[in-house]
C-alpha cells in the first residue's frame, strides 16, 4: 500500500480510449457529466492505432497497385511501378496521427479529463490508476464504463515476438520496417485475409493457412468464393483445412510446419502473421473486486443498457459479447453514456449491425442470413442480383459479386442482406437502414436508385425477390 496516496472524487470514469470508450466519454460529457477517461496506451484504441484505420490505409494503396497492374486492359500502363514501403508506412502513420489527434481534441474540447495510466477496480466504487511514472491515483466514481477492448490470441507454438521477432500479431504486421518478401499468415479470418491480400498486392509472396474448411468461415460460402478467386489472381496461396504445427528458425527464414490433407508441408517465410482471434481484456481489471460478472470466456455480461451486474458499472465494445467491431463498440458507448446520464429509453436495440470485410472484392452483411432466418421460424425468400449485370460494376471493370436480399416470404419484410463486390462496404448502409426501419423488400424496389451505381443492384435484387426482375431473366 502506498503511503499518502491520493483519492479523487470522480463522476463518470471510462477505462479505455478506443472507439467504445472515447465515444462514450464524449457523449456523456455532452450530456453534462464530468468525465475522466483513462488510457494506458494510445487514444483511439486498437481501431485507430493498430486496427481498422492502418489496415484500411494499407488496403487502399494495395488496391491502387492492383488497378494499375491490371490497367493494361483499359490502356493504362506504367513502365516501372515501384512502392516505397517506408513512405507508405509513414503516410499510414500520418493518417493514424491525424485521427488520434482529432480524438484527443474532441475529448478535450468536450471537457473530458484524460488520464494516462493503467486502471483496475479496487472495489465496487473505486478505480486505481497506475500512471506512467508509477504513481497511483484512486478514483471514487459514480459511474464507470469498462471499455478495455481486446488483444490478439496467441497460437501454441507461435509466441508473438518469438523466433527473434519474426512471429507477429496484426499490430506488428501493420508497422514493419520493410516489405516482407515472404509472408505466412496463420488464420484466414477477416484480419488475415485483409492483410494477406494487401501485402500480396504490394509485393510479398503470401501464403494463408486456415484451419477450417475454408477461409472466412464466418461467412456464407458463396460470398467467399469471389474473394478466393481474387486472392488466387493476386498470387496468394490459400491452404484450407490446414493446421500450423510449429515454427523453427532456418538459415533462409522461419520454417513453418503445416499439416494439410495432402500431408505435412514446410513453408519458409520472413514473417509469420498469426491472426486466429482476439480475447477480451478483462483479466487484470479487478472486476471481481467490483462485483462485475464475467463469463467463462472472459466477456462481461451486460443488459440492454450495457449495465453489468455491478451497480453503476457499465461495459461496452470488445469486452462484451457480440461481434468485435468498432461501430458496435461506439454504438454501445453511446447507449452506456446515455443510460448513465439518465436519458429515457437508452437501450442497445440494434436490429442491424453490419459486418464488412475489406477484402477485394469487399464482403458485407447485415441482419439475418437465409439459414438464420429459417432457424428463426421464417418462411424465407431470397432475391439476388449479380454485379455482372450492373452497369456501374462494368464501368469500373469490377464485375465479380452479387447482392442478395433475405426476406420473409409471407410478410415481404426484409430480414437481412449479403453483398460481395466492389463498394459492398458502402452499399450495406442502405440495407442496414432498411432492416432497422422495418422496410418491406418492396420499399427497396420502389425507391429510385441513381444510375449507374452499385446500389442499384439493391433495387434490382428487390425486383427479383418480387418476381419482377428487369436486368436478369430470372431470379
Amino acid at each position: 500500500m502506498v503511503v499518502g496516496e491520493t483519492t479523487i472524487d470522480a463522476d463518470v470514469v471510462v477505462i479505455g480510449g478506443g472507439p467504445g470508450g472515447y465515444v462514450a466519454a464524449i457523449r456523456a460529457a455532452r450530456l453534462g457529466r464530468k468525465v475522466t477517461l483513462i488510457e494506458r496506451e494510445a487514444l483511439g484504441g486498437v481501431c485507430l492505432n493498430v486496427g481498422c484505420i492502418p489496415s484500411k490505409a494499407l488496403i487502399a494503396v494495395a488496391h491502387d497497385v492492383r488497378r494499375l497492374r491490371e490497367g493494361a486492359a483499359f490502356g493504362l500502363a506504367a513502365r516501372e511501378l515501384s512502392l516505397d514501403f517506408p513512405r507508405l508506412m509513414a503516410w499510414k502513420a500520418d493518417v493514424v496521427r491525424t485521427l488520434t489527434g482529432g480524438v484527443e481534441r474532441l475529448l478535450r474540447g468536450n471537457g473530458v479529463e484524460i488520464v494516462r495510466g493503467e486502471a483496475f477496480f479496487r472495489g465496487p466504487r473505486e478505480i486505481r490508476v497506475i500512471e506512467a511514472g508509477g504513481e497511483a491515483i484512486n478514483y471514487r466514481f459514480r459511474a464507470a464504463i469498462v471499455a478495455t477492448g481486446s488483444r490478439p490470441i496467441e497460437l501454441p507454438g507461435f509466441p508473438f515476438g518469438g523466433l527473434a521477432g519474426r512471429i507477429l500479431s496484426s499490430t506488428e504486421a501493420l508497422s514493419l520496417p520493410a516489405l516482407p518478401e515472404r509472408l505466412v499468415v496463420i488464420g484466414g479470418g477477416y484480419i488475415g485475409i485483409e492483410l494477406g491480400q494487401a501485402y500480396a498486392r504490394i509485393g510479398s509472396r503470401v501464403t494463408i493457412v486456415e484451419g477450417a474448411e475454408r477461409i472466412l468461415p464466418a461467412f456464407e460460402a458463396d460470398l467467399v468464393r469471389p474473394v478466393k478467386r481474387r486472392l488466387q489472381a493476386d498470387g496468394v496461396t490459400v491452404l484450407e483445412g490446414a493446421r500450423a504445427l510449429g515454427a523453427e528458425a532456418g538459415p533462409d527464414g522461419v520454417h513453418v510446419r503445416v499439416e494439410t490433407a495432402e500431408g505435412e508441408r514446410t513453408l519458409t517465410a520472413d514473417y509469420v502473421l498469426v491472426t486466429v482471434g482476439r480475447r477480451p481484456n478483462t483479466d487484470d481489471l479487478g472486476l471481481d473486486a467490483a462485483g462485475v460478472r464475467v463469463d467463462g470466456r472472459g466477456f462481461v455480461a451486460v443488459d440492454r443498457r450495457m449495465a453489468t451486474s455491478a451497480d453503476g458499472i457499465f461495459a461496452i465494445g470488445d469486452v462484451v459479447p457480440g461481434p468485435a467491431l468498432a461501430h458496435k463498440a461506439s454504438a454501445e458507448g453511446k447507449v452506456a453514456a446515455e443510460a448513465i446520464a439518465g436519458v429515457a429509453g437508452a437501450e442497445a436495440d440494434f436490429r442491424a449491425v453490419p459486418t464488412v470485410v475489406y477484402s477485394d472484392p469487399e464482403v458485407a452483411t447485415v441482419g439475418m442470413t437465409a439459414a438464420e432466418a429459417e432457424a428463426a421460424g421464417h418462411r424465407v425468400k431470397g432475391g439476388t442480383f449479380p454485379l455482372a449485370a450492373s452497369g456501374r460494376a462494368l464501368t469500373l471493370g469490377e464485375k465479380e459479386g452479387f447482392i442478395r436480399l433475405v426476406g420473409d416470404a409471407e410478410t415481404g419484410a426484409l430480414l437481412g442482406a449479403q453483398a460481395v463486390g466492389p463498394g459492398a462496404s458502402e452499399v450495406i448502409a442502405e440495407l442496414a437502414l432498411a432492416v432497422e426501419m422495418g422496410a418491406q423488400v418492396e420499399d427497396l424496389a420502389l425507391t429510385v436508385h441513381a444510375h449507374p451505381t452499385l446500389s442499384e443492384a439493391v433495387m434490382e435484387a428487390a425486383e427479383v425477390f418480387l418476381g419482377k426482375p428487369v436486368h436478369v431473366l430470372r431470379g
Binding site: 415481404g412 426501419m437 422496410a439 418491406q440 418492396e442 420499399d443 420502389l446 425507391t447
Partner: protein, 84 residues
C-alpha cells in the same frame, strides 16, 4: 409555431404503404399515422381500407364488384388500354 404547409402536404409513409394505399383506394391525407414520428403504417392503411369497404357495402351493395379496383379516375383510363 404556425403549421408549416409543406410539412402538412407531405404525408409520411413508406413507399410500400403508399402503394398499398393507392391500390386500396385509401387517401393517405385522411389518415393519422400510428407509426413513429406520425408515419402512416401498413396497418393504418389496411384498417382504413376495411372501414371504407364496410361503408361501401352498407351504402350501395351494387358497387361491390368494383371494390377491388382502384376507385380513382386512373381506373377508367387503365381499362382503356387493357387487353380485350
Amino acid at each position: 409555431a404556425p403549421p408549416s404547409p409543406g410539412a402538412a402536404a407531405t404525408v409520411r409513409a413508406m413507399p410500400s404503404v403508399r402503394r398499398l394505399a393507392r391500390e386500396r383506394g385509401v387517401d393517405l391525407r385522411t389518415l393519422k399515422g400510428s407509426g413513429p414520428g406520425g408515419r402512416i403504417t401498413r396497418e393504418d392503411v389496411l384498417r382504413a381500407a376495411k372501414a371504407q369497404d364496410r361503408a361501401v357495402e352498407q351504402t350501395s351493395a351494387e358497387k361491390a364488384p368494383e371494390r377491388e379496383a382502384a376507385p380513382e379516375p386512373a381506373a377508367a383510363a387503365s381499362a382503356a388500354v387493357a387487353p380485350r
